[in-house]
Point group: C2
């Protein structure tokens, strides 16, 4: 590797003191514009690299924000990340992004690595598995801002950004009931995570409000990997009580249920009505088009980015805000038509 250019090299080249070079690079008022221009021009020419490490070390600031997501290759998550990156990039912060791959162990490791890397703040959406939150106390103890989005948990002084999953689950189920469904199944992700637990809760509340008893056999909890769609459809086929409506906790799984149900000869929406969650682009590609709940991921990313950066710049204190709720919306399409 080529030798690193230092301010001493620049000083020698320009025949001025290293202190003057340093001050020029930092736009110090005591240095004339002429000198600054000269220094900058030589710095550029020689490939001098601003030593942000050293600068940040003394300021104890890294200008980086750590992000832990369950997985990068999900349409919803990559849309949220795109919003966070947009804001961070505009302000000059770097994002260090890591994925837990739904594992608690990996999430712990990521939290430690990011802590050791000196991130100024951490944004997290929890893994499926995570039950214990001790790996975040390193942050909270040292008052490093920590914000949870989408899959959140309740830690003191850690704000959260999400939609009202409880209300969204209620709306989805109420919609199926209004479209005439009497026996509604629910496909959920891990009930350890707020997003799925709250949607399930909303589902139950809508049934209760409409005097429909909840049947244990109508709850199907899984990791929502699409390979399970076939197994689920088998279960529907063999169920004693005819299922006529399904509320699925994400669009990808809902779409694969439609594909498998159609293979088995079910007509959608005549025999079974289906509603998904997220409004992923795929919901408009499947035939019939999928009714769903719009979850504005890009807006969530923008908001998460803005909140953390406003906090870091001192303009607001997010640690006093408990919860930010983004509005959801039901989008009725063909898959639930009467």
């Amino acid at each position: 590797m080529a030798k690193k250019i230092t301010i001493y090299d620049l000083a020698q080249k320009l025949n001025i003191s290293p202190a003057t070079v340093s001050r020029s690079l930092n736009d110090h008022p005591a240095i004339s514009q002429k000198t600054k221009d000269k220094v900058l021009s030589v710095a550029k020419e020689t490939g001098y690299r601003t030593n942000k490490f050293a600068a940040n070390l003394s300021k104890q600031k890294s200008n980086t924000i750590g992000v832990i997501v369950p997985k990068l290759n999900s349409n919803f998550m990559s849309t949220v990340l795109s919003g966070i990156e947009k804001i961070a990039n505009d302000i000059g912060y770097n994002l260090i992004i890591s994925q837990s791959l739904e594992s608690e162990k990996k999430e712990k490791l990521n939290a430690k690595t990011l802590f050791d890397s000196g991130v100024d703040a951490l944004l997290v959406s929890l893994a499926y598995e995570t039950e214990n939150f001790d790996h975040f106390t390193t942050y909270t103890d040292r008052k490093i801002p920590l914000l949870f989005f989408d899959r959140v948990c309740d830690l003191p002084n850690c704000p959260t950004i999400s939609i009202d999953n409880h209300a969204a689950g209620f709306d989805a189920t109420q919609h199926l009931i209004e479209q005439g469904c009497k026996n509604i199944a629910h496909i959920s992700g891990s009930l350890k995570r707020n997003v799925y637990a709250d949607r399930f809760d909303g589902y139950q509340r809508a049934l209760y409000k409409n005097n429909i008893p909840f049947k244990e056999e109508n709850l199907y909890e899984s990791d929502l990997s699409i390979d399970n769609a076939k197994t689920f459809v088998e279960r529907i086929k063999n169920s004693k009580h005819k299922v006529d409506g399904i509320f699925v906790s994400n669009d990808t799984f809902a779409v694969h249920c439609i594909i498998e149900l159609k293979k088995e000869g079910f007509r959608i929406p005549e025999d079974i009505k289906i509603i998904g969650f997220n409004n992923d682009p795929v919901s408009e590609v499947i035939s019939p088009n999928l009714t769903t709940i719009e979850y504005p991921g890009y807006k969530m990313g923008i908001l998460a980015g803005e909140s953390i950066i406003s906090h870091l710049s001192g303009s607001i204190n997010i640690q006093s805000a408990d919860q930010i709720i983004i509005k959801h919306k039901l989008i009725a399409r063909e898959s639930t038509q009467r």
Copy 2:
């Protein structure tokens, strides 16, 4: 913010010298295991933060790899990133990820920010717009490893990872010809980018090989945003020469072409056969299922991550490898059936 714990605080607490603390934390052989355990336990208890900044500063290593992608929220890109992150994370490197949003200006800014952040290496997939590559000379001049993937360019000592887009474009077009198509349109992204230029080239070569003259009106160059699908279908509808086959440079656009063509009463594959590119999950959701070229994004990410990390660890010198080509594969489905 709480006061930062230093090795001096640990030394005082343990009543040993700062040097012994430092050596213990670095697992120095001269220090007994008993002392190391004591130091580590107090370090953990007090929330001591390993100062990687300082450590890396002296080693001139940041243990971070910069990545610039056109946009985060694309299925293909987030799959590649997922592979890169997997490798980097396993080895203990952090990824700083930024998006150019297809803008040359933003790509330049990102390259500068990442350079100033002291990344040990840079991975890039180029923006649609980029015509000038001077923003990468800061890296090449200083021998900071620079690797291009998918959308690549030809810079000295910068390896590239891609598929053989030329051959893939040929295969796609040859398949349509073998399925009986006589007048094949091609929908391309910006021809400034190798991926699209090479696929177009392969398309022309297949036509030539089969004695089918290329017609300028059959090339449709766009930014591949799905809003353009309607316009394209209008053009097909009003074309003098009946188009009976379409080779589209990405699956998302191909899927929206199918939707719009069906709305206009075209039967797929009877009236028009369509082949896409990438093998995105959406290709199996559309009806009829989309024939496509498999582009193994995850594998590309793994390979990009491994190449750069092997180079950084000194085990291989990627700057001597010009080009890594990943195998593509044609996946025949309903949309091109005879």
